[in-house]
């Protein structure tokens, strides 16, 4: 079987000798978005970092187009996979263009000097994320929404086959969340990139994912398309929400809001 895209096969992930999550099997095709859901501490970030090659897998196998990730060098991996983490670092006086240029790191020589082609790719990435007008502005002086788009531009300037994003919408208000996910979808389709995204906002995840992977208690709790998850009614359980006692516990309005987010019941 020739498999395109990115696959996790019976993957276990954790830190040191502590297994955080195990038995994960999932795949993402080029152009698709897979979203990881789960409570805080369910292992979303751990799984994502392991998938990105930043943590050593504690078992199982990772495949990129039939090549084992463990057989790729760090440099090869960097050319195929781009990571957008939630760590916030002080970029000092770096301009937005300089941030995006960092995406060309795997392709430049010893001293990191960009070629004509590199500059062109950076400019294209900024066009595609609608950030070209920010090129000469300090990265520290733009809004959170703009900042995430710049970081997305940096990721696509890396020309990866796989994009891994750890809670990319966490600091964004709802409008920028929607804008960001829409942009991510468009870019993944156009450039045939596979994306794996961890997320907290259930409603947003259901609206923007091709597939979802729900993690709970160290294993995969449920997986499938948004439609399948809605129909199975498993989402409240993922977050430990009792559907029988929604009204007494949260009040009518919040109970309605939760039902809508989880896509269960009528209005």
């Amino acid at each position: 079987m020739t498999a395109k895209g990115y696959r996790m096969e019976n993957l276990s992930a954790g830190y040191g000798s502590r297994v955080v999550i195990s038995g994960v099997t999932a795949s993402v095709l080029p152009g698709e978005i897979l979203i990881l859901l789960g409570e805080n501490g369910a292992g979303k970030s751990t799984l994502l970092k392991t998938a990105a090659g930043l943590l050593q897998p504690m078992g199982g196998e990772l495949w990129l187009n039939d090549v084992r990730l463990s057989e790729m060098s760090a440099a090869q991996r960097a050319a195929e996979m781009s990571v957008l983490l939630s760590e916030r670092t002080d970029a000092g006086q770096m301009t937005c263009r300089e941030i995006v240029e960092m995406g060309r790191y795997p392709y430049t020589g010893r001293f990191g000097i960009l070629s004509e082609q590199d500059h062109r790719i950076v400019a294209q990435a900024m066009e595609a994320t609608d950030t070209a007008q920010l090129a000469d502005t300090d990265f520290g002086k733009i809004s959170d929404g703009q900042r995430q788009r710049i970081r997305l531009a940096r990721s696509i300037a890396q020309e990866p086959q796989v994009l891994l994003l750890d809670e990319p919408t966490v600091y964004l208000d709802i409008r920028y969340q929607a804008q960001f996910m829409r942009l991510l979808r468009t870019l993944c389709r156009e450039r045939q990139m596979a994306a794996i995204v961890s997320m907290h906002e259930v409603g947003m995840a259901l609206a923007s994912a091709d597939k979802l992977l729900c993690l709970k208690d160290g294993v995969v709790y449920a997986s499938g398309t948004a439609q399948e998850l809605r129909e199975s009614g498993c989402l409240p359980g993922l977050y430990g929400v009792e559907t029988e006692t929604l009204e007494p516990e949260y009040g009518t309005e919040l109970a309605d809001y939760l039902r809508q987010s989880f896509g269960i019941g009528g209005k």
């Binding site: 970092k49 990105a52 090659g53 930043l54 060098s73 760090a74 440099a75 991996r77 960097a78 996979m81 781009s82 990571v83 983490l85 760590e87 670092t89 002080d90 970029a91 000092g92 006086q93 770096m94 301009t95 263009r97 300089e98 941030i99 960092m102 790191y105 795997p106 430049t108 010893r110 001293f111 990191g112 000097i113 000469d136 502005t137 300090d138 520290g140 002086k141």
Partner: protein
């Protein structure tokens, strides 16, 4: 500071700044050679430097004392600027430097021990063993700082720990100096206060070689440093061997700080202030530019400070650290004030 700046503007700014720094260095070396307690005219200095002779005493003062001293101030200043830049990069802390982190003091203590042990037996040790002892002391202090910073993730604790280590080492050095009674101790005492005096060409050759080698090695790290600036995990995702980079940052910064301490004793504030001043001047974070600029900037800072230290109350000399502190400490205060507004 302006909101945005175009690429061509930045390129011009960088070129102009680097050229100015590069020209200022030799100009200040020349000025340092001209100025001193014995009056020698600039014309005579040029004649002596170009080998057209002059009075024997003047030739000796220029070629044996002032010229090597000026070159030493430039090279060691550059080493401090680089060392500070690497430490600020490594700790992601704008007020890190070899002096505040106790690295210079650790180096000083080990050199003092070496001097006293040797002075009691055979006489003054060679410069290589001085650098070796200083490097050992620098790494020892660095080891303590790393241990503490690994246990407590927080910027203030790091600097406080460094300052405490610095005080302990300085106290131990004073203790040794007080109880060792030997003719060498007078010079040991002067050295432990910090000065660029008494350099000969042999010293200058060794320190220049060491500093230039480190400089070349650091330039090769410019690319990974640029990625490391944006986060450890991000750098790893780009294929950077972060552990190797960190080890090299520690080794180079300690070696450079050790080299300075072995020859000139502890010199404060240059390591913190220079990278900050250079950043403000170039308005960039690109290591490819900051590395050479910090080297040149450190050289200029120390040349000016040394000139002031030996000429302001001539023929008496101030310790170099009193001068560098006067210029460097305000820079640190400005950084702290600015930070508060930025966060």
């Amino acid at each position: 500071m302006r909101e945005s700046r175009s690429t061509s503007q930045s390129n011009k700014r960088w070129a102009a700044a680097l050229i100015c720094l590069a020209l200022l260095c030799p100009a200040l070396v020349f000025l340092s050679i001209c100025i001193g307690s014995t009056g020698i005219s600039a014309g005579d200095v040029i004649a002596i430097l170009t080998g057209h002779g002059g009075e024997e005493a003047a030739v000796s003062i220029i070629m044996r004392i002032r010229f090597p001293r000026a070159v030493a101030a430039m090279v060691l200043g550059g080493a401090l600027g680089l060392s500070g830049y690497l430490l600020q990069t490594f700790f992601r802390n704008p007020i890190a430097g070899p002096f505040v982190l106790g690295i210079s003091s650790g180096a000083k203590l080990c050199v003092a021990i070496l001097l006293i042990v040797f002075a009691m037996r055979t006489g003054i040790p060679g410069s290589i063993s001085m650098i070796g002892a200083a490097f050992f002391g620098a790494l020892l202090s660095m080891g303590f700082v790393l241990l503490i910073s690994a246990r407590m993730r927080g910027k203030p604790t790091l600097i406080v720990a460094g300052i405490m280590i610095g005080y302990i080492c300085s106290a131990a050095t004073d203790f040794l100096v007080t109880f060792a009674d030997d003719a060498q101790i007078v010079s040991l005492h002067n050295w432990s206060k910090g000065s660029f005096s008494g350099m000969d060409w042999g010293d200058v050759r060794v320190m220049s070689l060491l500093t230039v080698l480190c400089f070349a090695g650091i330039l090769l790290l410019a690319k990974p440093i640029s990625a490391y600036r944006l986060g450890e995990e991000y750098a790893r995702s780009l294929g950077v061997d972060v552990f190797r980079l960190q080890v090299l940052l520690v080794l180079y910064s300690s070696l450079l700080a050790a080299c300075v301490t072995a020859y000139a004793g502890p010199v404060s504030f240059v390591g913190i202030a220079v990278p900050q001043l250079i950043r403000a001047l170039l308005r960039t974070e690109r290591p490819q530019l900051l590395i050479p600029a910090c080297f040149l900037g450190g050289g200029i800072f120390c040349l000016v400070s040394d000139l002031i230290a030996r000429s302001i109350f001539s023929p008496a000399e101030l310790s170099i650290s009193s001068v560098t502190a006067v210029f460097g400490a305000p820079v640190v205060i400005i950084i702290l004030l600015r930070r508060k507004g930025a966060v």
